[in-house]
């Protein structure tokens, strides 16, 4: 589904991603861990199409398409979703209107008819229940004045509404209490199917107790330096990143 080969990207003169290789197949859950500043969010942003980052080498194929050639909105239309580490606050735009526009623009991209008010409301009710999100939150301006946890939950709600093929969650578990983590995990698990895939960026093993990954990768200094199964996450939790760092002293 997603095939990243030798991806190099950076900003201005700064090289951030220095040759990423990653294969994700339908039905799989991958977790990416790694110390602060190693490039996890940059990778997520490059995949979602943020134009600030310049891709200098490598290829990314998504669902049979050259992902790097697509605009952010086309990528979403193709079924890619990024839950932001820091969701943006947008005053004056109601969350409900925003989601309605998003759902219908994605449908339009796929050649489907727009949902009418009734169908949209029904979908919303269902996903609200699934992600434990409150109506009053959705009637407010998008993320404006939302607590950290509410913003993260709103990301998961949007994911549930858009039903992506590949969901990338960038530290969606950070700053959440235990109940909220369960809700996030529940949302992700509901999305899981043999056709969908998930890429989790996280610092904590505890999320992986609820969403069991098929593969765990360690990103360090712009490269994936170690890959393994869920046991790798446990090892990192126990030993920290020091052993990875000492194995990868830069020449």
């Amino acid at each position: 589904m997603l095939s990243i080969k030798n991806l190099h990207a950076g900003i201005d003169e700064k090289k951030i991603l220095k040759g990423i290789n990653l294969e994700i197949k339908p039905g799989e859950v991958h977790a990416i861990m790694g110390p602060n500043g190693s490039g996890k969010s940059t990778l997520a942003s490059v995949l979602a199409g943020r134009e600030d980052y310049e891709v200098t080498d490598g290829t990314v194929e998504f669902a049979g398409k050259d992902l790097l050639e697509l605009s952010p909105e086309e990528r979403a239309g193709e079924g890619l979703f990024l839950a932001f580490q820091y969701p943006v606050e947008i005053p004056g735009l109601s969350t409900t209107n925003f989601i309605k526009t998003a759902v219908n623009e994605v449908r339009k991209y796929r050649g489907e008819e727009a949902l009418d008010a009734v169908a949209f409301l029904k979908l919303m009710k269902e996903k609200m229940a699934q992600t434990n999100i409150d109506q009053t939150l959705l009637s407010r301006s998008l993320n404006e004045g939302f607590s950290g946890g509410e913003k993260k939950r709103n990301e998961v709600f949007q994911m549930a509404m858009l039903q992506p093929k590949l969901a990338i969650l960038d530290e969606t578990d950070s700053g959440l209490d235990i109940d909220a983590i369960r809700i996030v995990a529940n949302g992700v698990n509901k999305l899981r199917s043999k056709d969908n895939a998930v890429l989790l960026v996280t610092h904590y093993q505890r999320l992986l107790d609820y969403i069991v990954p098929d593969f765990v990768h360690v990103l360090y200094n712009g490269r994936i330096v170690k890959s393994g199964t869920k046991e790798l996450a446990l090892e990192l939790e126990e030993r920290g990143y020091d052993f990875i760092k000492s194995e990868n002293v830069e020449a």
Partner: protein, 434 residues
């Protein structure tokens, strides 16, 4: 003969110029002031960025002729909710009573010429022209010199005028370039409440220049809302002056919406002339093409314990230009003043520009004042967030800009007018309100 010479010639020919009981004296004085000050050029400090001289070098007809408009001509310009509203029509600057409708109880509308002679004559002589204390240039004087076709609006003490007063400034430029100078004096009595919305429309394809002046006097415990909606054609330009004098402890709320026209200069003066007055001033402007918008506001805190709150927001596209100049005076004995001012601008193209200047002159020591202005572009981060959800770049921009305007839209408290303006803004931003 240029326009100004032509105007001066017209002046002497008007019948009421020698009428010393009515408006003759004030007109004579204004005419002298006009001759002395002339039409402001960009050398005038308050007109540095707004050039109106060209409107006076061309020929514009100033007409006293009876208009030739029918109700059918007017249908497209009427505001939603007009069925219940009070409607005042000015055609080419002259009040047209036969088209106007006054429905509400306690609301009196009369030609200024009459009010200057009857039981309202003290009010008229005391307040008509008060704006010229604040605007030292020939523009107000020019309007006052031709005040004979203006209107006096009186809201009776204690009267709550439920339905709004719509004022239509219509210029019939189908045959010739037109100069129009509509004038209004409003007196809102003690404990009364009233709402005004006014619009500007030019018919035809010739050019028009409107020099509008409305003066509003607000008495003790009265509440006045005033909405100015500018959506005129690009060959129509105007200077529109709104002068509000709060002579008793009162509350005013104004929103200025400027969406279209060639050149627009707005003067908004609020004089807080009694203790415990409150004034709210909001504005939104969306400019495109070569249009020019200039908002000059003055809030004069003349007495203690008053509060003013001002927020103007603008979006400028193409080659359009904007000016915001916000003066706040706090007089020496206006202690315990609260005055806030903010102006926020988004530039949507390389060619657009805006000049924003807050001007605080504070002579009291126990006051709270703040001001701020921003000029920026659309936030890339927000744009990316929306696009990452599948929303096209164009729609995402529209949503962000509409969101930027929302807090001003919410200040329009006449529901059908709010919807009307929201639709105009959305249309301009090319999206449908979900």
């Amino acid at each position: 003969m240029n326009n100004l010479e032509y105007i001066k010639e017209r002046f002497n020919q008007l019948p009421s110029v020698n009428d010393l009981n009515g408006l003759g004296v004030i007109r004579q004085k204004a005419f002298e002031a006009l001759n002395k000050m002339g039409i402001p050029t960009t050398r005038h400090e308050e007109w540095k960025y707004t050039r109106i001289g060209s409107f006076f070098n061309k020929e514009y007809k100033y007409t006293e002729a009876q208009h030739a408009l029918t109700a059918a001509d007017l249908a497209p310009v009427r505001l939603p909710g007009y069925e219940q509203a009070n409607e005042l029509f000015y055609i080419n600057g002259r009040y047209a009573p036969e088209l106007s409708v006054v429905r509400s109880k306690g609301l009196t509308v009369q030609p200024l010429q009459e009010a200057a002679r009857n039981e309202y004559k003290d009010i008229v002589s005391k307040h008509l022209g008060h704006s010229s204390n604040y605007l030292k240039d020939g523009i107000i004087a020019l309007n006052t010199a031709f005040v004979q076709d203006g209107v006096f609006v009186y809201v009776k003490k204690g009267q709550i005028v439920e339905h709004p007063v719509y004022i239509y400034n219509i210029t019939d430029a189908r045959q010739a370039n037109i100069l129009a100078q509509p004038r209004t004096l409003v007196y809102v009595g003690e404990n009364a409440q009233v709402k005004f919305a006014e619009t500007f429309n030019t018919l035809g394809t010739q050019e028009s220049f409107t020099n509008r002046v409305i003066e509003i006097v607000v008495e003790k415990d009265a509440i006045t809302e005033y909405y100015k909606i500018q959506t005129d054609a690009s060959h129509a330009s105007q200077v529109a002056t709104t002068h509000i004098q709060q002579i008793g402890k009162s509350y005013t709320h104004t929103v200025t919406v400027s969406l279209n026209a060639g050149l627009v200069r707005n003067n908004l003066n609020i004089v807080l002339d009694e203790q415990y007055c409150e004034a709210h001033l909001y504005g939104i402007y969306l400019q495109q093409g070569n249009s020019h918008i200039d908002n000059h506001t003055v809030v004069d805190h003349a007495k203690p314990h008053c509060e003013s709150n001002e927020l103007y927001k603008g979006m400028l596209d193409d080659q359009s230009t904007g000016v915001f100049n916000g003066k706040i005076f706090v007089r020496q004995d206006a202690q315990k003043t609260n005055a806030y001012q903010s102006n926020k601008n988004v530039l949507l193209s390389e060619g657009a520009s805006v000049n924003t200047k807050p001007q605080l002159e504070i002579f009291a020591d126990d006051v709270k004042c703040s001001h701020g202005c921003t000029i920026g572009r659309l936030d890339e981060e927000s744009l990316f967030y929306l696009r990452s959800r599948g929303i096209s770049e164009r729609t995402a921009k529209s949503l962000l800009l509409h969101g930027f305007a929302v807090d001003i839209l919410e200040q329009i408290k006449i529901a059908p007018i709010r919807e009307y303006v929201d639709n105009l803004i959305s249309e301009r931003l090319e999206f449908d309100i979900a």
